[in-house]
């Protein structure tokens, strides 16, 4: 599953909850098992997006912070 080419979402410069909203709206149009990679700069996203994923049944595969950029990879419906 993790080998799928992830879809990209650029949420840089957006402050929470906008990265969560953009993630939520994008995932609405994705299928089970697809991967979304969200790039953000708000450190709040590192807490908010995984929380949103947990309560909505998606799985955070991993997160990575390089300089001021955060990447969060999510498997759609992977938490159910």
């Amino acid at each position: 599953m993790d080998d799928l080419i992830p879809q990209q979402l650029d949420a840089r410069r957006l402050l929470c909850p906008m990265p969560v909203i953009r993630t939520q709206n994008r995932i609405k149009d994705m299928r089970t098992g697809e991967i979304l990679e969200v790039t953000c700069t708000d450190p709040g996203a590192l807490s908010d997006i995984p929380t949103w994923c947990r309560i909505n049944g998606h799985r955070v595969i991993d997160t990575e912070t390089v300089d001021d950029e955060i990447k969060i990879r999510i498997e759609v419906d992977g938490g159910q």
């Binding site: 410069r13 402050l15 929470c16 909850p17 906008m18 969560v20 909203i21 939520q24 700069t41 708000d42 450190p43 709040g44 590192l46 807490s47 908010d48 929380t51 949103w52 947990r54 309560i55 909505n56 001021d68």
Partner: protein, 330 residues
């Protein structure tokens, strides 16, 4: 959180909705100021949903909310807060969501008399009516003080299990939280909307007055929260970062605004908003120099970058503090 728990305990499936207007405090403040970067970063609505084990839908209503703020039928509170219109709008959006997603009724955590404008006994029916929710709007924390609603009449919820809270005291809510073993919850008593903040409201009105139009974009209302705002002349204002976190935030707007920064001393980034000529820029540069480490120097070099020009540099005398009138501060 309490109202939801009361309904969940009746065996009813509940999902949460959180609206983002652009004026929500917690959403903005996570990332900007350095002193806030070390604080625990928690979106309270997400945190509450996780504690309760319910789904949460965060809905962007920034565009639609403009009409609520600009044309409130019921007016404003102490500042620019259109609380009653806001409540009616949000319950109305919740009703739309309920209809689109096959839910049966809406609950809110409102309590009669809790807030002076939007949570009075007289305003409760106004919200129910203007939102179009009518008797599908249930307030579990004070339902026993209000007429029967559809979920109570139909027996979907037990009215006897609803509560009869009223008044400004939050002691009954705190007691209920203890009963539910909630030892952590979002701080009560507002503070979650910039429109209730006097200083923010003044900046918002200043922006409208000097632009000659009552309108805004998300970037506008974000920037009102950041930096020191000075209006030395009616035609322009200066936004000056107060610390590194704010300077970093303002850097994201450099392509949209003329910006200034000292090159021979450490100092803040400043953006100019409005229309200005070379004399205005000279004045702005002196002010910006005053807020940097060169404030006591005879001259400070300031780089200016305008959208349609190459960056250039001028050398200015920092403006002494006593020459900056308080009336310039917005």
């Amino acid at each position: 959180m309490l109202a939801t728990k009361v309904i969940i305990d009746q065996g009813i499936h509940v999902e949460g909705i959180n609206f983002f207007t652009g004026f929500c405090v917690e959403g903005h403040t996570h990332a900007i100021r350095n002193k806030d970067r070390k604080r625990e970063k928690r979106n309270n609505s997400l945190w509450v949903a996780e504690q309760l084990g319910i789904k949460l839908h965060i809905i962007d209503v920034i565009e639609e909310y403009k009409d609520v703020l600009l044309n409130p039928k019921h007016g404003y509170g102490a500042n620019m807060n259109p609380c009653l219109d806001c409540k009616g709008f949000m319950v109305g959006k919740a009703r739309e969501w309920m209809e689109e997603n096959g839910f049966d009724f809406i609950i809110t955590g409102e309590v009669i008399g809790q807030r002076p404008m939007s949570q009075r006994k007289q305003t409760m029916p106004i919200i129910a009516e203007e939102s179009g929710a009518h008797d599908r709007l249930l307030r579990p924390l004070c339902a026993q003080n209000l007429p029967l609603t559809l979920p109570e009449r139909e027996g979907w919820v037990d009215r006897e299990a609803m509560l009869d809270f009223s008044g400004r005291s939050r002691k009954p809510q705190m007691a209920l939280a203890e009963k539910f073993n909630f030892d952590d919850y979002a701080q009560p008593a507002g503070g979650c909307c910039f429109l209730t903040d006097a200083a923010y409201s003044i900046k918002l009105k200043d922006m409208w007055t000097h632009r000659g139009t009552r309108d805004y974009e998300l970037d506008d209302i974000m920037m009102l929260k950041v930096g020191r705002h000075l209006r030395p002349r009616p035609n322009f204002k200066i936004i000056i970062g107060r610390e590194d976190g704010e300077n970093r935030f303002l850097e994201g707007y450099r392509k949209l605004f003329t910006h200034l920064r000292a090159t021979d001393h450490n100092g803040p980034l400043a953006l100019l908003d409005g229309s200005f000529d070379d004399d205005d820029i000279q004045l702005a540069a002196r002010i910006v120099a005053r807020y940097g480490q060169g404030r006591d120097a005879k001259k400070v070099d300031i780089e200016i970058k305008q959208q349609d020009r190459e960056a250039y540099q001028i050398s200015v005398q920092p403006m002494p503090n006593e020459e900056i009138p308080k009336t310039w501060m917005i």
